[in-house]
Structure formats: structure tokens, C-alpha cells
């Protein structure tokens, strides 16, 4: 059974902008897939669909299936339990005053008991390297710490599929390196929308290139990113890391 199955997904914003024009692809459990493409190509719009946040009224037409189950108004809660979405701007996601409260938000919504919530908060904070940050105010964290706290908040819900929107944007090189190492350790199925092409090469065996709401290419990350013509035609470039990679 596929972890994510998208069939001919189309979406038009209310202002008439056609963001997705018939997207189809599958992701198998445990796979890590990079979603690449220029700004405005529809990456973020696609990610919102995986959590039933778009369209405003979920139609249940079977265009989006998570673990074989079609997204519909009746199973939104169940789907959101399975798909953890990490948003691009950490300030949007960290809406509670302290780190512990924010990480506990998801488990609380799942209806878990206080003891279980405390355990999950502790474990997920340790997992992202923020042990001891429980009582820190979310608005006083550094950008890197905010990103980690966001990830902890999602990991606390123990999702089967992790969807990340630009996880390394605005991070300094060390923050980027550490965050990549962190993502590598997480066993969940991952779909990562990113402009960080080195991250795509290092973490994702497979990449999907999106442009103007259509899938342009879907294949091995190294093959796609080595295709200079394809890269330049869609606002991307061959990453530096591939220039130094030997063919053997």
C-alpha cells in the first residue's frame, strides 16, 4: 500500500490562479522524496492538500489518498494524525507561549492522558536536541531552535508521514547541517519541499520537479539534478555537491 497516493489533483485559488493542474504520483512507506521547483510552482499548495487544509471544503473525490484511505470530510482527523506537516514559517506553527506547551498541543488534541503527553514531550524534545528547553518562551528562541521545536511538536503526534515545507530556509550552515542530520534519523515517510538542492541530494533518493502546477520530472534525485538543461529550464541549478561527485 502506498503511503501517499495522488491522482490527477487539480486546484484553483479563489482569485483564479490555477495552482495545481493534474498532479499524480505515489510515495511508498519509508521513502524520502524531495519536491523541487521554482517559487510559485505549487509545492506549498500541494503540501496543504496532504493534510486536507486545501481545498477549503474537502470534496472526497479520491484525488488524495493516505495509506490507501481517500481524504474525505469524515476522516480529516484520522488523516491529520497520520500526516505531520511542518510549516515554512516557524512563527506560524509555534503558537503556544512555552516550548513544552507547544509540543504538548498535538498529543492533547489526540486526547492522550497527562502522563503520556509528558513522556511524548520529553522524548520528542530530546529527539530534536532541545532537552531542557521545556519552559523556554517560544518567541525568544533562535530561528534554528524554533525549527527544531516545530519538528518536535509534529513528532510528538507520531505521524507515519512527515511533510516538510522548506525545512532549511533561513538557517545558517551549521543549523542546516544539524537539521539535515536530524531529518535523516527520523524513520517516517518523508516528503520535503525545498530549494536546498544539497539537502535533496543528501537525504532523498527520489525527487519530483514541479513547475506551474505540473509534474515536470519524477526520478532519481542525482539523475534529475545532474541534468543541467532540465534544471535551468525550471528555475533550478545543478547543486555544487554534484560537481565534485565521482561517477564510480
Amino acid at each position: 500500500m502506498n503511503a501517499i497516493e495522488i491522482t490527477n489533483l487539480k486546484y484553483r485559488y479563489r482569485d483564479g490562479l490555477e495552482a495545481l493542474r493534474g498532479i499524480s504520483f505515489c510515495v511508498v512507506p519509508g521513502e524520502c522524496v524531495a519536491l523541487l521547483g521554482p517559487n510559485g510552482s505549487g509545492k506549498s499548495t500541494l503540501l496543504l492538500h496532504l493534510n486536507g487544509l486545501l481545498p477549503e471544503k474537502v470534496s472526497g473525490d479520491g484525488a488524495v489518498k493516505i495509506s490507501g484511505e481517500a481524504l474525505s470530510p469524515d476522516n480529516l482527523e484520522k488523516i491529520r494524525r497520520q500526516v505531520g506537516l511542518v510549516f515554512q514559517d516557524p512563527d506560524d506553527q509555534l503558537f503556544c507561549p512555552t516550548v513544552a506547551e507547544d509540543v504538548a498541543f498535538g498529543p492533547q488534541q489526540l486526547g492522550l492522558g497527562e502522563k503520556e503527553i509528558a513522556v511524548r514531550v520529553k522524548l520528542s524534545l530530546a529527539q530534536v536536541g532541545l532537552a531542557g528547553f521545556e519552559q523556554r518562551q517560544t518567541h525568544h528562541l533562535s530561528h534554528g531552535e524554533k525549527r527544531r521545536a516545530c519538528l518536535a511538536g509534529v513528532l510528538a503526534c507520531e505521524p507515519a508521514v512527515l511533510v516538510l515545507d522548506e525545512p532549511t530556509s533561513d538557517l545558517d550552515p551549521r543549523g542546516r547541517r544539524e537539521f539535515k542530520a536530524l531529518l535523516r534519523e527520523i524513520p517516517a515517510t518523508k516528503l520535503i519541499a525545498t530549494h536546498d538542492l544539497e539537502l535533496a541530494v543528501e537525504l532523498c533518493a527520489r525527487a519530483i520537479i514541479l513547475d506551474q502546477g505540473r509534474i515536470i520530472a519524477d526520478g532519481r534525485t542525482v539523475d534529475l539534478l545532474s541534468d543541467e538543461k532540465l534544471m535551468l529550464a525550471h528555475g533550478l541549478e545543478r547543486p555544487h555537491i554534484l560537481h565534485h561527485r565521482h561517477p564510480h
Binding site: 506537516l85 510549516f87 509555534l94 503558537f95 503556544c96 518562551q137 518567541h139 503526534c157
Partner: protein
Amino acid sequence: MDHGRGHSALHRAPAGWKLAGALTLVLTVGLLPRTQLAGLLVVAVILGGLCVLSRIRLLFLLKRMLLLEPLVLGVAGLMLLQPGGGKIFVAVMLKANLCLLTTVLLANTTPFTEIVRVLQRLRVPWLFVTTLTLMHRYLFVLADEAERMRRARVSRTFTRGRRFQWQALSSVVGQLFVRASERAERIYNAMCARGWK
């Protein structure tokens, strides 16, 4: 900044007691007839004692009060329009400022998160508590955003005309409103993504 974190006896006192005390003081001041100057004086002395106990600089507290003073003046000023309004004006000013000092003192000796926790324990409707928590959380984000926009505006402001500055400010306020409402939508999405019902 969270000014509620300090080390005085008043800072260390339980938030619930402080909230109850503040509420009692505000209600007392509000319910006292305006002719009862002695009563108001007693409240003022109590507040003065608490100010000393809090070890917060008086100038800091006065500055905080000054921020809200236009509001107080606006309400009290209306009293001047009625016959014999002078006395009422003085009484309203006195009462309002005592209440203001009470809340300023509470806000600066108790972390906001603790006040919210007390409200939760008191079973204040969750919608109200959530709104209050979110407001406190995003006040800083909005303030940062306003400051970034102000800097960006200042860096490209070459004329010193006051009228132009007001015009620019009005567009900043408009922009801030639009951005705040867009952010609200994104936050709501993030909440839904983690199971908000």
C-alpha cells in the same frame, strides 16, 4: 519582553493570589462612591506599599501608566461636559488611575503565562483563554513585523515632510493588518494540522 520575571517578594507570590488581590482592589475602587476619598486614599496607600515591595522603579511604572493615560483622559474628559463635571472628572481620574496602577503592577510582577494558567484553573471559558494566549504570543511577532516595516520605510524615506510620514504610516498600518490576517490563516492551518477541533 516579559517583565513579570523578577525576584521581589511580590514577584514570588502565587499568581492566583495576585490576580485575586488585583481584582479585589479594582472592584473596591470601582464600587466606592466618589465622595469616599478616604477609601480611595487607603487603596492608594496599599498600592504604594506594593510598589515598594515589588522593587520596580517608580519611573518605569509611571511610564507604563502613561501609555494608557490617553484612554483614561478620553473617558474622564467626557465628564467635563456635564454640569458640575469638574468634581466627577477628578474622581474618575483618581479611580481610573488607581485601577490602572493595579493592573500595571500585576502585569509587571506576574509572567503572562502564569496569569493564563490561573484563568484556566478558574475554568474561564477556553475560547477566551485561547484568544488571550494567542494574542500574547503574536503581539511580539506583529511588533517585530511592524518594526521591520518601519525600518524598511525609514531607509527609503528621504523627505522629512510630516504629512508624508503620516501617509506612509497609514499604509504601514494597512499592510500590517493584511499581513496579520494572512498570518492568522496560516496559524489556523498549523493548528488544524495538529488536530485542532
